[in-house]
Amino acid sequence: MRSPSWFNVTSLALGFAFLYLPMLILIVYSFNGGRLVTVWAGFSTRWYAELLRNEAFLDAAWVTLRVALISSTLATILGVMAALALVRGGRFLGRTLFSGMIYAPLVMPEVITGLSLLLLFIAIGMDRGIGTIVLAHTTFSMCYVSVVVSARLASFDRSLEEAALDLGASPAETFRLVTLPIIAPAVISGWLLAFTLSLDDLVIASFTAGPSATTLPMKIFSSVRLGVTPEINALSTILIAVVTTGVIISSLISKQAIARKARDERRAAR
């Protein structure tokens, strides 16, 4: 292997600067004391305090959190079922349509998903609010969960399940004791993906929310349209910090799981 050339080092450095500088600037300026966002007026946490007093933002954050928790949990249950149906279900009527419906939402523009769901809710006369956002988010995130989980399901050794069945376990016990522990990492990352997708979604929520519910991205979008504000900078910094911590923790957990697995395998080999 050659040592890294100056070209590779420069392209990585420039690439990461491009990816991270905009967010770093945002974080630095969220601690700016002045009202003018582009002029530095000394360090201050004033906008964080202001943000915590802003009822509208807090309400929207609470709505978003509830929607994300419920929809990601529903999406994980449905997505795991869909993955089992696709990978372990064998042949069933309309299998092609089913797998088409799993993959289509991944490439469907959000404006279309949002519009079509809204038209459905209106056609059946459903009151719009948190419930309809949850239904909408569950529908598109379950497809992401199912893709993540079916990749894991397709790659693991089926003879483990067969052995459990041969040894007298019922299909339900086999699933609980053998399949689920093996696919657990994929299920957890599917849940995390569904949770972030829901937290992040502006377009589909705007269509399906109705006048009674406002999510945090909707609130951010409507105030950002008028330009940069220090409160939004502070809010962004909090969100970036939460996500970064979450990603680091989950990657540490999966690293530990891999290390534990390697240790177990070494022990089993002895």
């Binding site: 050659r2 070209f7 590779n8 080092v9 392209s11 990585l12 690439g15 990816l19 991270y20 905009p22 967010m23 600037i25 945002l26 300026y29 582009t38 449905l78 997505g79 079922m81 869909a82 149906a85 309309g94 089913f98 419906m101 799993i102 939402p105 490439v107 469907m108 523009p109 959000e110 404006v111 279309i112 519009l115 079509s116 769901l117 038209l119 459905l120 209106i122 056609a123 909408a136 529908t139 379950m142 339900a172 972030t196 937290l199 992040d200 502006l202 377009v203 269509f207 951010i220 979008f221 950002v224 330009g227 940069v228 900078n233 962004s236 970036i240 970064t244 979450g246 990603v247 990657s251």
Partner: protein, 291 residues
């Protein structure tokens, strides 16, 4: 148990994915009406199938061909998506190449750094550029301070800001598939080419570029497909003259409240996406077969 596992997600998707889509199709073929909801009823119980079919009309689609706003919006969405994809390739390829050639011990960390922005809010990543690109933004301050320009550049609210926004938010989708194919290339192949008398650059063109083709094509589609229907980026970074079809659909729906036309726009947007999606699927399939 097996039946329930299949039936529950199946019925869910039928009810909340397929049926809504059929409704969009149906409404795109109906007349607008000054009522709530603002379109003619989808189905009235008294009419027979013949009457139902006879009420379909393609007026909304004809309207889309008459008003050149829609043509321009479709064409300019394609143009913006195409240019952004090229820019994302120009920026993403060297990063993917650098990753693939980085010391093995560093790769997991570097890869995580590429994926991390993907987890942070899309809206915030787009918002960050408003402060940078504005006429009083950080970029103009730096350029003016260095004396490189004498008057602030107008970047925000132009198509350029939209390109930058799309490249910034979607470049990880370009980097990852290219990195995946580059990682499979044996470094010895490059060394062999050099031993056989190729210059470094020529070896790159003759070995790396052809072998990474599948990843490049995959990455381009992963940027191009979502960019066409993009709404947030053109509405926050673009100007009032930046036409993109996602934005037109949104405005038709929320501002003009013309639901049948909005539905017709949605149907055509989907038709527009079918070709790149099919090509993308074929590329993925070929890669899977090759592996």
């Amino acid at each position: 148990m097996r039946r329930l596992t299949i039936a529950l997600p199946y019925l869910w998707l039928l009810a909340l994915f397929l049926v809504p889509f059929i409704i969009v199709l149906r409404i795109s073929l109906s007349d607008p009406a000054l009522a709530i909801p603002p379109y003619e009823p989808i189905w009235s119980k008294t009419e027979g199938l013949r009457d139902f079919l006879s009420r379909f009309d393609i007026e909304n689609f004809l309207f889309l061909t008459e008003d050149d706003l829609y043509w321009k919006a479709y064409l300019s969405s394609l143009k913006i998506a195409f240019i952004s994809t090229l820019l994302a390739l120009l920026i993403g390829f060297p990063i993917a190449y650098g990753l693939a050639r980085a010391p093995v011990a560093w790769r997991p960390l570097l890869l995580m750094l590429v994926i991390l922005p993907f987890w942070t809010s899309f809206l915030i990543r787009v918002y960050a550029w408003i402060g940078i690109l504005g006429t009083e933004g950080y970029l103009n301050q730096v350029l003016l301070g260095l004396g490189l320009i004498s008057a602030p550049l107008q970047i925000l609210n132009t198509d350029w800001a939209v390109y930058i926004g799309i490249v910034y938010t979607y470049v990880p989708f370009m980097i990852l598939p290219i990195y995946a194919t580059l990682g499979r290339i044996d470094a010895e192949l490059l060394e062999a080419a050099e031993d056989l008398g190729c210059s470094r650059i020529k070896a790159f063109w003759l070995v790396v570029v052809p072998l990474s083709k599948a990843g490049v094509i995959g990455g381009c589609f992963l940027v191009f497909i979502p960019a066409i229907g993009e709404f947030v980026i053109p509405s926050l970074l673009g100007g009032s003259d930046t036409l993109m079809i996602g934005k037109v659909l949104w405005e038709e729906f929320f501002n003009n409240r013309d639901w049948p036309v909005a539905s017709a726009v949605a149907v055509i947007l989907l038709l527009l996406l079918i070709v790149p999606i099919v090509l993308f699927q074929r590329n993925e399939q070929r890669q899977r077969d090759a592996a």
